[in-house]
């Protein structure tokens, strides 16, 4: 369930002992909250995005950000018949298949491998121009207004609030409290990461 950004950011300001948002204005708290939501979702992948990736014949390597600007981390790739392509855990694994992998072509790609965070390798390269669907952790929408709602789950909202509180305490140079909240944020993220989705 999405929660109201105005309510959440007011709570964060109150926790950072700035209930009237005089130290940091509401607009700035929302700005920081927005970046915190992006990071938390980048880790937890609560919100996903599906992008269409039209392939080019005999091309195996595709830039991610240029083709899918809202993709933060590729989670799965599907072909037109909704079958999952097999993920190669590591880019280096392709080299173990055969060293001519960059010139291996087939009618239907079978696997994919992210190379770093901005290249996606589709293997073997297509002989035609099939269309794939790429499912990724999404870059959440920028928040600017209190009337907007968060995109992550309620549990993850708590982590976003923790991280935003850390930033407000940092801004106020409240180092000891900041360290305590960083610990709380770390523990919360660890618990959320191991939680079944």
């Amino acid at each position: 369930m999405a929660q109201n950004v105005g309510n959440l950011t007011s709570q964060v300001s109150e926790r950072a002992r700035d209930p009237n948002q005089t130290g940091t204005t509401q607009a700035n708290v929302i700005l920081l909250f927005s970046f915190c939501q992006q990071v938390v979702n980048g880790v937890l992948a609560d919100v996903t995005v599906q992008d269409v990736l039209p392939l080019t014949a005999r091309q195996l390597i595709y830039p991610i950000f240029a083709n899918m600007p809202d993709s933060v981390r590729v989670l799965a790739v599907r072909d037109a018949s909704e079958r999952d392509l097999q993920p190669f855990g590591e880019f280096a694994g392709l080299g173990n298949v055969k060293n001519s992998w960059p010139s291996s072509y087939s009618d239907t790609p079978r696997s994919y491998a992210p190379c770093g965070r901005d290249l996606l390798i589709i293997y073997p390269g297509p002989t035609g121009t099939p269309i794939l669907t790429v499912i990724s952790a999404a870059l959440t929408t920028a928040l600017t207004l209190p009337a907007q709602t968060t995109q992550v789950t309620n549990d993850s909202d708590d982590a976003v609030m923790d991280l935003c509180e850390v930033l407000l305490l940092l801004k106020a140079r409240d180092i000891p409290d900041c360290q305590k909240i960083i610990e709380r944020f770390k523990n919360r993220m660890a618990a959320l990461e191991t939680e079944p989705k």
Binding site: F35, I61, P87, A92, P102, C115, G116, R117, V166, M189
Partner: protein, 185 residues
């Protein structure tokens, strides 16, 4: 808005306007360069080769070379000593490159082994990590924190080692969290 501008906005906000705006670009570039080994900003470039010349020049924005592909085949990374063991006259060897050596004269060049027998085509393809003017949007907050670390640890009228350390610690922690296992090449 670009991630560069967003990053500058966060630095200005969290520093309460104390950060030196003239130094931002330098500090931002420094942070982006240290991200190289994390392999966030991966890209490719086609490199033309010259007959009999092993040395190829890679793009100036290169931070970390991941792989060289020549004529559709993945080349192996070899150390100078390994090539010397393979062929003591390797510098004069000409043929289809099967390996590359990074211990060349500058960071932006590599040597192919053996040297290409013909001018391009075929070409070489470099897969590498580059330095970018705008980091990926997801990195905006961690990069801003690492810029703050640099700004507040340098000698100035607002030096604060505790604040700088905490910004650095938090920035690195967020980067590590975002650095999913599939990024490990």
């Amino acid at each position: 808005m670009s991630s560069f501008t967003d990053c500058q906005g966060i630095v200005n906000l969290l520093s309460n306007g104390q950060a030196d705006t003239n130094l931002f670009q330098l500090q931002y570039n420094d942070v982006v360069n240290t991200l190289g080994p994390k392999r966030w900003h991966t890209t490719t470039a086609i490199v033309n080769v010259t007959e009999g010349t092993p040395l190829i020049t890679l793009p100036a924005s290169l931070l970390d070379l991941i792989k060289i592909i020549y004529d559709g085949k993945s080349c192996s990374l070899l150390e100078l000593r390994e090539v010397e063991v393979l062929n003591s006259g390797w510098r004069n060897a000409v043929g289809t490159p099967i390996a590359y050596i990074e211990e060349a004269e500058s960071a932006q060049t590599v040597e192919l082994y053996p040297a290409p027998y013909t001018n391009s085509p075929p070409t070489a393809l470099a897969i590498y990590v580059e330095s970018r003017a705008n980091v990926l949007p997801i990195l905006t907050l961690p990069v801003a924190l690492l810029v703050l670390q640099r700004e507040f640890s340098r000698e100035s009228d607002h030096t604060s080692v505790d604040f700088a350390n905490l910004c650095g610690e938090l920035g690195m922690m967020l980067l590590d969290m975002l650095d999913a296992p599939e990024n490990h090449l």
